[in-house]
Amino acid sequence: MQLNREQLLAAYRMMRTIREFEDRVHVEFSAGDIPGFVHLYAGEEASAVGVCMNLDHRDKIASTHRGHGHCIAKGVDVEGMMAEIFGRGSGTCGGKGGSMHIADLEKGMMGANGIVGGGPPLICGAALTAKTLKTGGVAVAFIGDGASNQGTTMESYNLAKAWMLPAIFVVEDNGYAESTSSSWSVSGSQLGRAAGFGIPAVQVDGLDFFAIHEAAREAVERARDGGGPSLIHAKLNRYHGHFEGDAQTYRGNGEIERLRAEHDPLTHFRKRVTEAGLLEGGQLDAIDAAAKSEIDAAVAKAKSAAMPPLAELLTDVYVRY
């Protein structure tokens, strides 16, 4: 499918916003300003954006511990996210969730998840809602290579197929689960597993926004048409540690530098669209600058925002108790 100029600009804007967001959180974390566990998505942007650009307000996604990119791609407010990560009352979740639990159900973002493999069953539920209420919606679970080994994930493949749900499983294979290589931990293959459940699947290069976008488009179409679940195996790379603070000694010599230099989905996108004359460098530079100021502003705002009032400790445990 051809993306028009506006869509291309939007795609680049989202990817750049994610990159800027993540690289900046990295800096702020190092400075000691961000509490807790933080997992960054930089390097994997083409997946979140390539997939989510095929979704609309009817559609739901479930994310992982590495959730910022999915949030941004599904339209969650960036200022709220940054404030949440800083633990402020103005955060998306009032500071009660933090990096690992950003959610915005109104945007169809069902939550980052601190539990590896937590999302796929939830997505079966969201897909069931869509099917039952005939909303036309689809539901997408993002799944790490490590998470692909979790029983909850595999059960969801089978359930989604048995119920013929409009569900899409996106395996974001960045090569590692913490320090463990997916070449070791994943016996067989992602595509082989999908085939084992009778689920149509493709492997795509996570460097390539267009490839992911196209694969997602097909999967979304199949889902909306009642064709049941699909799986996309995206091979991609993470630029930061597993979590902030990870020394990453398990990575190859110069691996990260090489990835940043040669396997950057943003660079790749820029090259593709400018060489094809679809967009001009200046337009993209402007987006880069705008994203930087947007994130600057979000950080400044987050830092100056108030902590949640203590009374919030006891609220929202239940709707009513």
Partner: protein, 334 residues
């Protein structure tokens, strides 16, 4: 009023709520049954026939058989609840919670809090519990203390067909995740159950017996045993107030404390394991909040700290009995 069994009361509550609200769907292993099979459809209605007849009325779109993937389908019920349905999932035996607990206690229970109040997860998980069926260690547990421990969950333990219907309808209409416990030995219990739908609010205890001498708190099937003990004691001149909290989370602490303020004596009867269990929970509440009223040590009547044995001889000795309740009540009066 018509006499109905506990089984019928549950079935009727489900049917009436499904008629009222198209968002209510059912799912679980063989909740209809016969999926893909050559013979009868709706062949089971759950292993003890509780949901039988619902699929023919509401169709497979709303009564969903599932593969044996509790994390998958319980999680799906939760995800569906967070996105607009009001699912009732059946975890056949609560003993199976260990393969799907994460979805219940880390997902459903915490969404609302973690997400800063932005999620609503109106899911009900029905499950069978309890001993007496000679079903051995992995099919006889109670385990509701594990769910009561978790903030964000509501826990319902009806002790009669009347309560079962009213509490289940309340559970389905409730906007929070609810664990609904059905004692497998009570499905044939009969009771007057109104035909029309009605709700019983959570956190309101039921006083099944009244008396001035001792407060007896009991849950689920233990309410019957407590009543039996109270009736026997009444004849011997000892008056017991039997309190059935109906829900352990929220729990009607006021009713318990008020009664102990009057009687000064407490016996807690519970079928769950004793350590960190409901008997301890209620005892601790009273020891903290109504201590000055207490005239005697609190007594807990529970099974021993062992798994549930298979042999009828052992299981009968394992389970609390009216005799043991009577003994405990007498001990508090000594």
């Amino acid at each position: 009023m018509a006499k109905k069994s506990f089984r019928q009361a549950i079935n009727e509550a489900l049917a009436q709520e499904m008629r009222r609200d198209p968002r209510v769907v059912l799912m679980g292993e063989d909740v209809a049954g016969g999926q893909g099979a050559p013979g009868e459809d709706d062949a089971w209605g759950g292993p003890l026939g509780v949901t039988k007849g619902l699929m023919p009325e509401f169709g497979r779109e709303r009564v969903l058989d599932t593969p044996i993937t509790e994390s998958g389908f319980v999680g799906a019920a939760i995800g569906a609840a967070a996105t607009g349905l009001r699912p009732v999932a059946e975890l056949m035996f609560v003993d199976f919670m260990g393969v799907c607990f994460d979805q219940i206690f880390n997902q459903a229970a915490k969404f609302r809090y973690m997400f800063g109040g932005k999620a609503v997860t109106p899911v009900v998980i029905r499950t069978m519990y309890g001993g007496g069926f000679r079903a051995a260690s992995q099919h006889s547990q109670c385990l509701y203390p594990l769910f009561t421990h978790i903030p964000g969950l509501k826990v319902v333990i009806p002790s009669s067909p009347y309560d079962a219907k009213g509490l289940l309808i309340q559970a389905i209409r409730d906007d929070d995740p609810v664990m609904f416990f059905e004692h497998k030995m009570m499905y044939d219990d009969m009771d007057e159950v109104p035909d029309e739908p009605y709700t019983i609010p959570f956190g309101e205890a039921n006083l099944t017996r009244e008396g001035d001498d001792v407060t007896v708190v009991a849950l689920g099937r233990m309410v019957k045993i407590a009543n039996e003990a109270a009736d026997a004691l009444r004849k011997q001149g000892v008056g017991c107030t039997v309190i059935d909290p109906r829900t352990t989370s929220p729990m009607d602490t006021d009713s318990i404390l008020e009664s102990v303020e009057e009687t000064g004596r407490l016996v807690v009867v519970d079928e769950a394991h004793p350590r960190c269990g409901m008997a301890a929970d209620v005892s601790a509440l009273v020891a903290q909040e109504a201590f000055r009223a207490l005239k005697a040590p609190i007594r807990m009547v529970t099974p021993p700290h062992t798994p549930v044995p298979f042999s009828p001889a052992l299981e009968d000795a394992y389970l609390p009995s009216a005799a043991r309740v009577i003994e405990a009540v007498r001990a508090t009066m000594a």
